[in-house]
C-alpha cells in the first residue's frame, strides 16, 4: 500500500515540476490574413460555427489573428512554398494526431475520456464524425445530417434494430444514439453517458425500476440488458426472446415454469402463453415492495 501511495506522490511531484516549465514560444505564424488570401471560403465557413466566435476565449478565433493556425499550426513555410505538406492538413494526418489537436481544447466534460476510449482505440478521430468547416447537422458539427446517420456508418446492425417491432422512440425522433451513449468515451461501460453501470443509464429514465426493492429480481439487479435489447427486437418491450421462452431460460423448476407452452396450450388459451406471457401474472417482475411479493405477483 505504501508503495502505491509513494508512487502517486511521485507522480504528483513530476507533474508539478512539468507544469512549471514555460510554454514553447510560437514561431512561424503568418496570421489569418495570409491564410484567407487563398482560403477565403474556409474562413467564412468557420465564422458561422462556434469555432469562429472570438468572444469565447476558448475558441481558436480568440487567438488574435491566429484562428486558422491555432489548429492548422504555423503556416509560414506553407504560405511561402505552397507545399501542402508544410501545414497541418487533417485529412492526411494520422487519426490520433488529429484528435491530439482537438482534445488540446476539448479536454473537459463529455470529451474528457476520449483518449483510450473505444473509438480512439479503433483509430477513429474527431473528423471521422465531425466537420469543423462544413458540418451538415443542425448541431454538434456532424458530417452527416443527424446523429443516427453518423453512427450507422459503422453500427448498421444496431441502427437496423431501431426498425423492429419493439423499439425506443428513436425513429420517431424523440431519442437518438447520443441520448444513451457518449461516443467520446465515458467512465461507464459501453460508452454509456449516464451513471456507472448499464442499469444506472436505464433507470435515469425508468426511475420507477430503480429500487432497491424489498424483493429484488436477481437478473434485473444484474443488468437490464439480460432480458432487454435496448436497440430493438422482434418482441414486445424489446425483450431478447418471447415470453414464456425467455423466462424458461432460468425458471424450469416444478409445475408451470417447466411446462411446454406449445400449440395445444395456445389452443386452450393458457394464460401463460397468450397476451404478455409470464407477466400476465408476474407483473412486478422488476421488483416488488409488497411483503407478499416474493414471486412478483403483488
Amino acid at each position: 500500500m505504501k508503495s502505491i501511495f509513494v508512487t502517486a506522490l511521485l507522480m504528483c511531484a513530476a507533474s508539478v515540476s512539468a507544469a512549471q516549465k514555460p510554454p514553447a514560444p510560437a514561431a512561424g505564424y503568418v496570421g489569418d490574413d495570409t491564410c484567407v488570401a487563398c482560403h477565403d471560403n474556409k474562413d467564412k465557413q468557420l465564422r458561422t460555427t462556434l469555432h469562429g466566435k472570438a468572444q469565447n476565449v476558448r475558441t481558436p478565433s480568440a487567438n488574435a489573428n491566429q484562428s486558422c493556425e491555432t489548429c492548422h499550426g504555423p503556416g509560414k513555410e506553407h504560405s511561402e512554398t505552397g507545399d501542402k505538406a508544410k501545414i497541418r492538413a487533417f485529412a492526411s494526418m494520422k487519426p490520433r494526431d488529429v484528435s491530439e489537436v482537438c482534445v488540446g481544447c476539448h479536454n473537459r466534460s463529455t470529451h474528457a475520456q476520449w483518449k483510450g476510449s473505444m473509438h480512439d482505440a479503433r483509430n477513429l478521430s474527431c473528423i471521422t464524425c465531425h466537420s469543423v468547416h462544413s458540418p451538415k447537422a443542425e448541431r454538434a458539427q456532424l458530417k452527416a445530417a443527424s446523429v443516427t446517420e453518423t453512427c450507422v456508418t459503422c453500427h448498421r446492425t444496431e441502427v437496423s434494430k431501431l426498425q423492429r417491432f419493439g423499439h425506443m422512440p428513436v425513429r420517431e425522433g424523440k431519442l437518438e444514439c447520443t441520448s444513451c451513449h457518449n461516443p467520446h468515451g465515458s467512465t461507464n461501460v459501453r460508452m454509456l453517458k449516464v451513471g456507472n453501470w448499464v442499469n444506472e443509464t436505464c433507470v435515469s429514465c425508468h426511475a420507477e425500476k430503480r429500487g432497491p426493492y424489498l424483493w429484488d429480481h436477481a437478473p434485473v439487479r444484474e443488468a437490464c440488458n439480460t432480458c432487454h435489447d435496448p436497440h430493438g427486437s422482434n418482441n414486445e418491450r424489446m425483450l431478447v426472446a418471447k415470453l414464456p421462452m425467455l423466462c424458461q431460460r432460468c425458471h424450469i423448476g416444478t409445475r408451470h415454469p417447466s411446462t411446454i407452452y406449445d400449440g395445444a396450450q395456445l389452443a386452450a388459451r393458457s394464460n401463460r402463453i397468450i397476451g404478455r406471457g409470464c407477466v400476465n401474472c408476474h407483473s412486478q417482475i422488476h421488483g416488488s415492495n409488497s411483503p407478499a411479493g416474493n414471486t412478483f405477483l403483488r
Binding site: A18, V189, P212, I252, T254, N271, H282, N289, P291, R298
Partner: protein, 719 residues
C-alpha cells in the same frame, strides 16, 4: 483495504490535477474582432396540414405509438437563431399543439454562460380498442372496481363468464411523459466551468398491467400511472493544459402518487378464506432517492501519457410504508417484520485509467474499474406469506434476498499504427463479479480481442474485430437452486459458464468519388457446455450490403440490405415434485430462431428541377421468430404441437417535395405510406377474440396490423 488503497491513488491524481490547476490558469488574451460582424440567419417556420387514411381494421394506436399523428394543422417546425459575435439565441418548436410537441430555448453568451431549456412530450399510445370491466373508484385512481352486479353474477354463476366481453367499456390505453429539462454552464474563468442541470419528468396515463388471484383467475388491468422524477446535477470542473478535475453531485428523486393498486376480483363479491378474495392489492413502484457525489481527475504526463481517476459514491434509498400481506379480510393477519421497506444500497464506482502514446506508432491503455452495489437492506423475515390474496402458505426461504454485486474489471490494450491509415489492436479484459444470493458466488470472465482498422484512405474503410471470451463461475451453491425448487443442474444464463466468440468486418469501398459501397459480415456464438438445463447456446450471423451514389451534387441515391439471424437452444424438464423431478424422459428443448431483413433505399434530387427538392425513400423491416420444441430421444411427454412463427413487417415509403417560390416562401407536400403486418400467436386478434379468455380476463391489448396513407401539405417561411 483494497478500496482504501484505490481511494488513495485516486486522491493523489485528483490532488495533482488540482495543484496543476493553480499554475496553469493564465490571463485570457483579448478576443479578436470578427471579420464578419452582424447576424447570420437560418430561420424557418413550417406550417403543415396532415390527413391520414387507414385501411379498415388498421391499428391506429400502433401507427402513432410514440407520436401524435392526428389529422389537422400545426406549426410543425420552428427554428429561429439569432447569432452575433457575442452570443447566439435559439428557439425551436416541433409539432405544436399535439401530444408529441417539443419546445426548446437556448442561449450562449460565448465564453460566459450557456443555458438551455427544453420541454418535450413523448406519448406512448398502446391501444385505442382496449376495453375493460374495471373503472377507477371516484376520487381514487388506484382503486379499480367492477360493477358489483357483475361480480355477484359471476360468483353465483348467474352471469355467463363469456358474456362480460359485451359489458366491458372501451377506452384508450395511453401514457405520456412530459419532460422539462434545464441545463446551464457558467464559465467562471478560462479554465473553470460550473454546471447545473435540472430535469423533471412527469409520467401520466395507464399501461398494461396484471393482477392475479390464482392460476385460473388472472386479470389484466390498465394500471394508472402518476409519477414524477426530479433529477438534479451540479458540477464544478477545471481543465487546463496539465489536466482536469471535476467535482459533481447527482441526485434523482422518484415520486409515485399512487403507491398501491387495489382491484376487484371479477369472480368474487365476498372475501373467502378458501375461494379467494373480493379484491387484490399490490404495491406499485415505490418512492426512491438516489444521491451520488463524484470526483474525477485527469493528469497529463510526459510522453503523451495521462492518468485518470474517477470515484463516485452513491446512496440509493427507498423507505416506503409496507402494505399488509393481504387485503383479504377472511385470511389471518400476518405480522410484518417491520413497517417500512428500509431499503438502501451504497453504490461505489471507481475508474482508473492510464493511457500513453510513447511513439507515433504505439498507444497503450490500461483501466481498472470497480462497481460495487452493496445492498444494505436488512433481510425482511417471512415465515408465512400470502399467495394471490387467496391463501396463506409457509415460506421456507425465510426472508428476502437483498442482492449485492461487486464487479471488478481490469482491461489493457495496445494499439499499433504502423502505417498512417492502419491500426491494429490487441486487448485483454478480466472481469470478476462477486454476488450474493446467487448460485455462483463469483463469475470470472476473461476476454481477448483483436482488431484491425483501416481508415482515412480515400477509397477504403475497413474495420475488423475478433473477440473470444470465457466465463467461469465458482463457489457453486446448490441450495440456492434447491430452495426455489429448481433443478440443480440448471444454470441461469446471466451467470452460467460460457465460451463466446464474436467476429465482425465492416467495409466501405469508394472506387470513384461518386460511389461508395459498404458491407458488413458478422458472426457470434455462445457455448455453455456445462449447462444441462437453461440456455445452452446463443449464436448470431449477419451481413449487409449497400451503396451510396452521388453522380452530381443534385442527385444522390443509396440502398442497403441487411440480414441477421439469431439462434438459441435452451433445455428444460417438465416435472412436478416426486418421481418426475429426476425423470430424463421428461426433458425437452426449445430451439429459437430470430431472423430479420432490413432494406432501405433513398433518392434525393436537390434542385435538379429548378427551386425544387425531391426526396424519395423506402424502408422495409421484416422479422420472424420461430420457437421449435424438441423432446428427449426416449420421452414420456406428448408430442408438442409446434407454434407458428411470429412475423413483424414494417414498410415505409415517402415522397417529399419542396418548392421554393421566393427567398422567403416555400411550399411542398409529403406522401407517406406506412404498412405494418403482424402475425403474433400470443397477442394477435386471431387468438384473442374476446377479453374473456379462459382463466384470464384481459383488456384486449393486441398487436394488430395497419396500413396508413398520409398526405401533408406544407407552407414554409424562411427569414
Amino acid at each position: 483495504m483494497k478500496i482504501r488503497r484505490l481511494f488513495l491513488i485516486a486522491a493523489a491524481v485528483v490532488l495533482n490535477a488540482s495543484a496543476s490547476f493553480a499554475q496553469a490558469t493564465a490571463p485570457s488574451p483579448a478576443p479578436s474582432t470578427s471579420p464578419e460582424p452582424g447576424e447570420t440567419t437560418a430561420n424557418v417556420a413550417e406550417f403543415t396540414v396532415r390527413g391520414t387514411s387507414f385501411t379498415p381494421g388498421s391499428d391506429q394506436a400502433r401507427f402513432m405509438r410514440y407520436r401524435d399523428l392526428r389529422d389537422g394543422g400545426t406549426l410543425d417546425l420552428l427554428r429561429y437563431t439569432k447569432s452575433t459575435d457575442a452570443h447566439i439565441y435559439n428557439v425551436q418548436a416541433d409539432h405544436v399543439g399535439y401530444r408529441d410537441q417539443r419546445f426548446s430555448l437556448s442561449a450562449n453568451d460565448f465564453g460566459k454562460v450557456k443555458a438551455s431549456f427544453e420541454y418535450n412530450q413523448i406519448p406512448l399510445f398502446f391501444s385505442e380498442d382496449t376495453k375493460t370491466l374495471f373503472s377507477p373508484e371516484a376520487g381514487s385512481a388506484n382503486v379499480l372496481r367492477i360493477d358489483d352486479a357483475v361480480q355477484a353474477g359471476l360468483q353465483n354463476k348467474t352471469l355467463p363468464y363469456a358474456s362480460v366481453d359485451a359489458l366491458a367499456q372501451p377506452f384508450d390505453l395511453r401514457l405520456k411523459r412530459n419532460i422539462a429539462d434545464f441545463k446551464a454552464t457558467y464559465s467562471a474563468t478560462r479554465a473553470i466551468d460550473l454546471n447545473v442541470w435540472l430535469r423533471s419528468t412527469g409520467k401520466a396515463g395507464n399501461q398494461p398491467w396484471a393482477g392475479t388471484f390464482g392460476f385460473s383467475d388472472a386479470v389484466e388491468l390498465p394500471v394508472p400511472v402518476q409519477t414524477r422524477t426530479t433529477d438534479l446535477g451540479l458540477g464544478i470542473e477545471w481543465a487546463g493544459g496539465r489536466g482536469s478535475a471535476r467535482v459533481g453531485y447527482d441526485g434523482s428523486f422518484f415520486r409515485n402518487d399512487l403507491g398501491t393498486l387495489v382491484w376487484d376480483n371479477p369472480l368474487r363479491i365476498t372475501d373467502s378464506p378458501t375461494l379467494g378474495p373480493l379484491q387484490g392489492r399490490m404495491s406499485l413502484w415505490p418512492d426512491s432517492n438516489m444521491n451520488a457525489g463524484s470526483v474525477s481527475g485527469l493528469l497529463n504526463l510526459p510522453a503523451r501519457s495521462r492518468v485518470t481517476a474517477y470515484i463516485s459514491l452513491g446512496n440509493w434509498t427507498q423507505d416506503n410504508l409496507l402494505i399488509p400481506f393481504t387485503v383479504n379480510s377472511a385470511l389471518p393477519s400476518i405480522p410484518l417484520d417491520r413497517t417500512t421497506s428500509d431499503a438502501q444500497a451504497r453504490v461505489t464506482s471507481m475508474n482508473y485509467s492510464f493511457n500513453s502514446r510513447p511513439t507515433n506508432e504505439v498507444s497503450f491503455t490500461a483501466r481498472y474499474r470497480l462497481y460495487d452495489f452493496d445492498n444494505r437492506t436488512p433481510v425482511f423475515h417471512v415465515a408465512r406469506t400470502v399467495a394471490y390474496d387467496t391463501s396463506v402458505a409457509a415460506f421456507p426461504e425465510g426472508g428476502t434476498s437483498p442482492y449485492s454485486i461487486n464487479r471488478k474489471t481490469f482491461d489493457a490494450e495496445v494499439s499499433l499504427t504502423p502505417l498512417r491509415y492502419s491500426s491494429f489492436r490487441a486487448g485483454y479484459t478480466r472481469e470478476q463479479i462477486d454476488q450474493t444470493f446467487r448460485s455462483f458466488d463469483t463469475t470470472t470472465e476473461d476476454t481477448v480481442r483483436l482488431s484491425a482498422d483501416a481508415s482515412g484512405i480515400n477509397w477504403l474503410m475497413l474495420r475488423a474485430v475478433y473477440e473470444h471470451a470465457k466465463r467461469v463461475g465458482s463457489g457453486f451453491d446448490q441450495e440456492a437452486l434447491d430452495d426455489i425448487g429448481e433443478q440443480v443442474s440448471l444454470r441461469q444464463f446471466d451467470i452460467s459458464d460460457r465460451t463466446s466468440n464474436r467476429v465482425s468486418l465492416v467495409m466501405q469501398v469508394t472506387p470513384v468519388s461518386a460511389l461508395a459501397i459498404n458491407g458488413l459480415v458478422s458472426a457470434g456464438n455462445e457455448d455453455r457446455g456445462a449447462t444441462v438445463f437453461g440456455l445452452r447456446s446463443n449464436d448470431s450471423r449477419g451481413y449487409s450490403l449497400g451503396f451510396d451514389y452521388v453522380p452530381r451534387p443534385s442527385i444522390s441515391l443509396g440502398a442497403s440490405y441487411e440480414w441477421e439471424r439469431y439462434t438459441s437452444l435452451q433445455a428444460s424438464r417438465q416435472a412436478n415434485p416426486g418421481p418426475q423431478f429426476n425423470d430424463p424422459t421428461r426433458d425437452w428443448t426449445t430451439s429459437g430462431a430470430d431472423k430479420a431483413s432490413t432494406f432501405n433505399a433513398s433518392m434525393d434530387l436537390i434542385k435538379l428541377l429548378r427551386k425544387t427538392d425531391i426526396r424519395l425513400s423506402y424502408d422495409l423491416s421484416h422479422a420472424e421468430s420461430l420457437y421449435v420444441y424438441g423432446l428427449a430421444p426416449v420421452t414420456t411427454l406428448a408430442t408438442p404441437v409446434q407454434l407458428p412463427a411470429v412475423v413483424n413487417e414494417l414498410q415505409r415509403g415517402t415522397v417529399d417535395v419542396r418548392y421554393r417560390f421566393t427567398t422567403h416562401f416555400g411550399a411542398g407536400f409529403v406522401y407517406w405510406f406506412d404498412k405494418y403486418a403482424v402475425n403474433d400467436f400470443a397477442q394477435g386478434e386471431q387468438t384473442l377474440t374476446t377479453i374473456a379468455q379462459p382463466s384470464f380476463l384481459m383488456i384486449g391489448y393486441l398487436t394488430r396490423p395497419y396500413t396508413a396513407n398520409t398526405f401533408s401539405g406544407r407552407f414554409t417561411y424562411y427569414w
